[in-house]
Symmetry: C2
Subunit: 240 residues, 2 copies
């Protein structure tokens, strides 16, 4: 059975302007690979209503799961929740359970749950809340879209809470071999090997170190025995 | 006059599997901001023919410039050039000028220009070569699509060669203020300020440091005097 598929939508002008370097994509990619969900596509869009709505619609229709990051804070440029609701055509308003979570959080801190903070309790109708153990303001799941924070510590915590409930396929196993020869020398034999193992995926990642060329060849697949067999052949082709 | 727009297409299974952390997006974002080109969207897709072709078509139609990264090496999974050609409906084959560049490079190194390496001389008809001062194998420009390498040192070098020939708009200026108060306290006044300066963009980027909440507020725009005026107001609202 093929693995479930996934896409990520990163929302935020700060990524596209180069002010902030995104960290969530790399984390999500590793976590999904670990549980056997194939991350097939990532899009990064700006804090614009149509850009968000259009991307949510396209990705939600094309993949099993969608994960968004960013745009769910209290400021005017945090418009992710409203546009995910818009993409699904459902109403959005402050929801009582989300408000109660925020109220308890700010009470503990002796801070006021003012109008700006209350924006973070806006939840689309029919959504399920995602727990935020870091700073209380919840994410949510609407349809197959998981809406999470952009701050990496919160994104990671939300993802850790969400992943166990998703049905993963078989974990993807990988083995790699460092080959100290130029990629151009490796490419021919590697292609022939890949053709004999159509159920595995073969990647070659070149590097240059101390003036010498080399490549890290990575073989991935779900069947450990097949992986071992391909790796044995690869080792024989390129002895250390 | 609005700035030219741009999109980036990152191609590679290694990014989506979490094996490699992409570095080119952040670099491109900073460089484009510097020359006044608005990076509006980034997509990351896998080494699959349809995924690449579809993304090239969509982005090339929607934005002034497109920059791709990855998939132009000598191995069987390097299929970017073929699929950019396919997206534009033009033929692709080994081109004599590209072959000559590679031949000279490998002659100098005492290496054979074998079949795998010769793949890197496959250039779509009508494309203009992009110089690769690092490892010779050229990128190319077809229509509004700039096809560049995934290895960051090569990507950066190719980009540096390409940028001066693109017509940038006015550079985007930015000023920022570090405010040591929770974002929820800032949001209301910041929204009011943003509404009085519709020609500028206002971003708020929260952080937590030593247990205290704060936010970096960034104002961006093309008119330095307007930026100064807004910054003066912001400083008055939130004195240090």
């Amino acid at each position: 059975m093929p693995n479930p598929t996934a896409a990520m939508l990163v929302i935020g002008d700060e990524i596209l302007s180069g002010r902030t370097r995104d960290a969530n994509m790399h984390h999500l990619a590793k976590e999904l690979t670990h549980v056997g969900i194939d991350l097939c596509e990532v899009r990064v869009v700006s804090d614009k209503a149509d850009a968000i709505t259009d991307a949510v619609k396209a990705l939600s229709a094309a993949y099993t799961h969608v994960f968004t990051s960013g745009g769910i804070g209290p400021t005017h440029d945090d418009i992710t929740a409203d546009n995910v609701a818009r993409a699904f055509g459902v109403p959005i308003d402050v929801r009582e359970d989300a408000r109660a979570i925020l109220q308890a959080h700010y009470d503990r801190q002796g801070l006021e749950l003012n109008e700006a903070r209350l924006r973070m309790a806006r939840i689309p109708e029919g959504a399920k809340l995602i727990d935020n153990p870091v700073s209380a303001a919840p994410g949510f799941i609407l349809g197959n879209v998981h809406v999470m924070a952009g701050v990496p510590s919160i994104f990671n915590a939300m993802l850790a809470g969400v992943l166990p409930s998703l049905t993963g396929g078989a974990p993807v196993l990988s083995q790699s071999l460092m080959i100290h020869r130029g990629e151009g020398d490796i490419a021919g034999p590697l292609r022939a090997l890949a053709e004999r193992y159509p159920d595995l995926s073969f990647g070659s990642y070149p590097f240059q170190r101390d003036g010498a060329y080399g490549a890290q060849v990575v073989i991935r697949g779900q069947d450990g025995a097949r992986l071992d067999a391909a790796m044995t052949e690869l080792n024989a082709m390129f002895p250390a």
